[in-house]
């Protein structure tokens, strides 16, 4: 780990912190989201990108092996996904107030875990790795938006009209559900891509290792949620609670299971 990479990561975190203070300040004192919040986030994201590229060039492989790298690359993809939504859906830009604390937590975790350099395992030298990971990042990006909207629905049960810039509960529920559908499609694609990779690398498309099993549980929970919404039409608050539960399961699958095992799919690398 050279100082340059870490310096860029710290600068990026500082940038996100300033963006958060700026956004929350505008919301609290002026009652609106100030112009320039997105630009500040974009600059912070670019700093993170530079740090990740420097590490990629130095190690000659992408951020795929250690928890440090996985957290870094997922902060990168979460922010990218959010920035696209921020750009394309102005009505929900205010979600940045809830999104940035998630990023702070992940940054804090990332900067605390060991920053050791681990060579890329032989089984990771395949294009399917990129396919699998890319789909996974879109899946989690969509799920995080769905979760943030669900948090607003839940908080509004106690604080009426919390974040008034956002529309009513039924609309928020519909929005959360639509992002959940995107998450379901990309989660499915991630699992298929991963299965092809596993078949190529280890001769079996499914092994029921802890990561695969929890990934399947996440997918099933998503499928249950989608069918629950269509069939039983639950109250927004209950559905929001279920989406938050799915996010927790998926987040732990992404970061908890590999964290326990140090590297993903450890048993078969």
């Amino acid at each position: 780990m050279t100082m340059n990479e870490l310096t860029f990561f710290w600068f990026s975190l500082a940038g996100f912190l300033v963006s958060g203070i700026y956004a929350w300040g505008g919301h609290i004192f002026l009652g609106r989201l100030l112009r320039g919040t997105g630009l500040m986030m974009l600059v912070s994201w670019l700093l993170l990108t530079i740090g990740l590229i420097m590490r990629w060039v130095r190690l000659d492989h992408g951020p795929f092996t250690t928890m440090y790298e996985i957290l870094g690359s997922n902060i990168w993809s979460f922010v990218l996904f959010f920035l696209i939504i921020y750009w394309r859906m102005p009505r929900i830009r205010i979600l940045v107030l809830l999104f940035l604390p998630v990023i702070y937590a992940m940054f804090a975790w990332m900067l605390m875990v060991p920053k050791t350099d681990v060579p890329l395992p032989n089984t990771y030298h395949t294009a399917w790795l990129y396919v699998h990971i890319s789909f996974g990042k879109v899946f989690m990006g969509a799920l995080i938006i769905s979760m943030l909207v669900s948090v607003v629905i839940l908080v509004r049960q106690f604080l009426d009209r919390w974040i008034p810039d956002l529309p009513g509960e039924r609309s928020l529920l519909e929005l959360s559900y639509r992002f959940l559908l995107v998450a379901l499609v990309f989660d499915s694609l991630m699992l298929i891509g991963g299965a092809i990779w596993a078949q190529q690398a280890w001769g079996r498309y499914w092994f029921w290792d802890s990561l695969e099993t929890w990934a399947f549980i996440s997918w099933l929970s998503l499928a249950v949620a989608v069918h629950l919404k269509i069939t039983l039409k639950p109250e927004p608050a209950y559905f929001a609670l279920f989406i938050i539960f799915i996010f927790i399961i998926s987040f732990l699958t992404f970061f908890g299971v590999p964290f326990v095992n140090e590297i993903p799919h450890k048993g078969v690398v």
């Binding site: 009505r91 032989n122 089984t123 990771y124 030298h125 395949t126 529309p167 009513g168 509960e169 039924r170 609309s171 519909e174 929005l175 639509r178 559908l181 499609v185 499915s188 694609l189 298929i192 299965a195 092809i196 078949q199 190529q200 690398a201 280890w202 001769g203 079996r204 498309y205 029921w208 802890s210 099993t213 929890w214 399947f216 549980i217 099933l220 929970s221 499928a223 249950v224 069918h227 629950l228 269509i230 069939t231 039983l232």
Partner: protein, 325 residues
């Protein structure tokens, strides 16, 4: 008539889908703990979803009238059928092959479906060459091997990230590697048997290197231990090879005997010639004819679902009218 209509509606309806998914989820949880096998844990949810899908495709007009929704459901049905075929015909096991000693069947079975067709039989698979590299700290670095299938002139390469399809079985390099005893048995009645017997994996059981050798015409198996004098680093680094200095301990009815390579042991039933060691390497085997079909249909299904959802969602805004803003 009404009852039949209700039954069809229930069998083809989304509530049953939901029930099937929840049952599936409930079936996966015990699989995580390891108390239940995946096949039995998922059987009930699988059956419910299969029934539900068949009736949904046959009965539901909404599905029949939308080509993408129909394609998605058809793909799901084919996937479920493929998974069923997979569980009935799959094979999971391993094989150990020593240099210049072809094998004609898997060494061991972990699990297999009841209808697994043994495609391996009567075909020789020989290890032509291999290279296994380990670092000075003893850590594994890389492995690659060349196999010959039958009389094929084209050798098959297997490496860390390169598996091979041989007779429908996926050969994957395992971390197991070891030595095999090459021997010749000359019975007093003139019977001559030549063979190899594998000592346990050097990577998994370096401290327990012993085999029970059952010779024809000898009542009890003879235990043969491998005593390697050379340092482990000498035959693992940089490349795995037969150690320079080793001997055998033979336990027979006449008691323990220390035997050097290329020496003979006399037994009441004949003479056992213990030749030198030959290396063997291990492969994990997996047989599942449904894999590519499964992957293809799953991709088709997800794409059809994505198009269907996209078509439906773009028609309406997520901001609903008369919502309490």
């Amino acid at each position: 008539m009404i009852t039949r209509y209700k039954l069809l509606a229930w069998l083809s309806g989304l509530p049953l889908t939901l029930l099937g998914l929840v049952t599936f989820l409930a079936g996966v949880l015990p699989v995580v703990t390891g108390y239940v096998s995946a096949t039995s844990g998922l059987a009930l949810g699988y059956s419910l979803l299969l029934i539900n899908l068949v009736f949904a495709i046959l009965v539901r007009e909404k599905i029949k009238n939308n080509p993408f929704l129909l394609l998605f459901h058809m793909a799901l049905l084919l996937m479920l059928l493929a998974v069923g075929v997979s569980r009935l015909t799959y094979f999971k096991g391993w094989v150990e092959i020593s240099l210049d000693m072809p094998i004609t069947e898997p060494t061991g079975v972990i699990s297999k479906g009841p209808w697994h067709p043994n495609a391996f039989k009567k075909t020789r698979v020989a290890l032509l060459d291999f290279e296994a590299n380990y670092g000075s700290d003893g850590r594994y670095q890389s492995i690659r091997s060349l196999l010959q299938v039958g009389n094929s002139q084209q050798p098959t390469l297997i490496a860390d990230s390169q598996t091979a399809d041989i007779l429908g079985y996926q050969f994957t390099q395992s971390s197991n590697i070891g030595f095999a005893l090459s021997f010749v048995w000359m019975a007093t009645d003139g019977t001559l048997v030549q063979g190899v017997s594998h000592f346990p994996s050097q990577t998994a059981y370096p401290e327990t290197q012993g085999i029970d050798l059952q010779l024809p015409g000898v009542e009890k198996p003879i235990w043969i231990g491998l005593d390697i004098v050379s340092k482990r680093q000498d035959f693992f680094t940089p490349e795995f090879r037969v150690p320079d200095d080793y001997s055998y301990t033979v336990m027979s009815t006449s008691g323990p005997q220390m035997v050097t390579p290329n020496s003979a042991v006399s037994l009441p039933e004949g003479q056992l010639m213990l030749n030198g060691l030959v290396p063997w390497i291990g492969y994990d085997l997996y047989y599942d004819p449904s894999i590519y079909f499964l992957l293809f249909t799953s991709l088709i299904g997800v794409c059809a679902l994505a198009i269907f959802l996209w078509q439906r969602q773009v028609k309406t805004s997520w901001i609903l009218e008369n919502d309490d803003e």
